[in-house]
């Protein structure tokens, strides 16, 4: 029991250090980035996405209770999405960051219109919410000039964006399988929410159940890889001299110190390099 407790303790301490490392890496990049305030939206969009990537990884690393196949893929799916979006924007930052922001403002306008349409006149709480949201929208762009796009924000779907941004591998081997979890599709549900009945009379049908699944720090390792990829794409674009170690290499090296087996041996599925 003591050994198990010590193992858990060392993994948690490792994760704390990992979180500090990626925060440091993120802040170093933001500090060294030469920002032109006139085009502040470009920096806000890219910096915000990079922050989102780090935040998601931190949230996963700090919550061992979700290092499982039920929840962790939801975070990893979001992280692959962040990376594809970021990598695609980085190919033409000014234009694409603008597109990204305008789409978001359009979505907000649509939401406000829905609220207005559904709200009852006397509901002060909803009216206040509408007022606050309209003020947020108008502080960035007049709502009467804001277009609402109900298609893809980039004019491309995620597969096409991934292809343009040279992330096909990530799309095929990570984004797509994790999407199955995010959208609660059969390939996930049949494995994680059903168990086979052993009675031959019952056609070996599957029984719905609430399953306990093992906890695995490999999910955090994967998230470190996605942070790594996003940092790498950012560094390549802006050519910044970064001294903070890259998350992936750091994770592998440091994890060896607390775990006799290399991290790759902990994988539940074959690592495709994504």
């Amino acid at each position: 029991m003591n050994k198990k407790n010590n193992d858990i303790k060392s993994v948690l301490m490792f994760m704390d250090k990992y979180c500090s490392l990626i925060i440091e890496g993120f802040r170093e990049r933001w500090k060294k980035w030469e920002i032109e305030i006139y085009d502040s939206e470009t920096y806000e969009a890219i910096g915000g996405l990079l922050s989102r990537q780090v935040t998601l990884s931190i949230s996963l690393a700090s919550a061992p209770q979700i290092w499982n196949g039920h929840i962790a893929p939801l975070i990893l799916r979001a992280m692959t999405d962040v990376h594809i979006t970021l990598a695609w924007i980085l190919l033409d930052p000014k234009e694409r960051a603008k597109k990204y922001i305008l789409y978001g403002l359009g979505q907000e306008k649509l939401y406000i219109e829905h609220l207005k349409s559904e709200a009852v006149e006397e509901d002060n709480r909803i009216n206040l919410m509408i007022e606050v949201r309209e003020s947020w929208l108008n502080s960035q762009r007049a709502d009467f000039l804001t277009e609402v796009n109900v298609g893809n924000w980039a004019g491309l779907n995620t597969r096409e964006m991934a292809s343009e941004a040279d992330c096909q591998g990530l799309y095929k081997f990570a984004y797509t399988p994790f999407s199955g979890v995010a959208h609660n599709m059969w390939q996930h549900i049949s494995r994680y929410n059903l168990v086979p009945c052993n009675n031959p009379l019952h056609k070996f049908h599957r029984v719905a159940d609430i399953l306990d699944v093992p906890s695995d720090p490999d999910y955090v390792y994967r998230s470190a890889k996605y942070v790594d990829r996003s940092f790498e794409a950012f560094d390549k674009k802006y050519n910044l001299p970064i001294s903070t170690p890259m998350p992936h290499d750091w994770f592998v090296e440091e994890f060896k110190k607390i775990n006799k087996k290399p991290i790759e041996d902990n994988l539940e599925v074959i690592d495709t390099g994504t």
Partner: protein
């Protein structure tokens, strides 16, 4: 209890996957008050802050009228916008400075505009020169920061007075016309009775006018100074990152 409305975005036109608002259908594009217009007019904010609205506007009026008199282009220039002064030649600038000095406006302008003249490169009105008495960089930074904070909201009075001056200068130096059935906005109310209905009505007209002043029918307005003003701002005073405070 009744719900408010029926169909949402009913006045929008659907083009592909996009719903285009009526104003955009008319070809109206957005001009950013903060990004594009504000750097052009903040000099009046500094002047107003130091001298008060009436004296500030009087000095802008004097300078704009003189500039219109001596400019050697047929093109209309609104001299409440800082970049308009880039169209004056060196001799004309000397003439303006002399006129301002003769009328005791030069020192006031030099003192008021010191943060822009001394801290920023390429300020189009830097030809007015720095003030005789020296202010520290910290003092000038504090002044311009306070002024930007006060004027950056285009709906509040300090920002509205700067915008109203753009319209006023257009009115007194030519090129502003109203048809018989349109009553010109009462600009005085923006100073004297800002929160009144008439003040609010005038403010709305002014905001729409200033947008159109920056969006000429022909040609493209240069955003060189606006771009430079904001980009230099990031270098003049460092950004305090939230995590550094912890």
């Amino acid at each position: 209890m009744e719900k408010k409305k029926g169909k949402i975005l009913g006045d929008h036109k659907k083009v592909g996957s996009k719903f285009i608002p009526p104003m955009s259908q008319l070809g109206m594009t957005e001009v950013s008050y903060v990004n594009q217009i504000f750097p052009e007019i903040i000099w009046m904010g500094l002047l107003n802050k130091r001298e008060g609205y009436h004296t500030g506007i009087r000095i802008v009026e004097f300078m704009a009228k003189k500039s219109v008199e001596i400019k050697n282009t047929e093109k209309f220039l609104n001299f409440s916008l800082a970049s308009s002064y880039t169209f004056l030649g060196a001799d004309q600038k000397i003439q303006i400075v002399a006129e301002l000095e003769k009328n005791n406006f030069l020192q006031v302008l030099q003192k008021s505009l010191a943060p822009l003249t001394c801290l920023y490169e390429g300020f189009p009105m830097a030809f007015l020169g720095p003030p005789a008495d020296h202010n520290s960089k910290e003092t000038m930074l504090a002044i311009i920061k306070e002024c930007i904070s006060a004027c950056i909201n285009k709906y509040e009075q300090p920002g509205m007075v700067m915008q109203a001056t753009v319209m006023y200068i257009r009115g007194i130096t030519g090129g502003l016309y109203f048809t018989n059935n349109i009553k010109p906005p009462n600009l005085d109310k923006i100073i004297t009775d800002f929160d009144s209905d008439e003040g609010k009505k005038a403010a709305a007209s002014v905001r729409a006018f200033v947008m159109s002043e920056y969006m000429p029918m022909e040609g493209k307005k240069s955003d060189e100074w606006s771009r430079s003003f904001w980009n230099q701002g990031y270098k003049i005073d460092k950004c305090h990152f939230p995590w550094d405070k912890k």
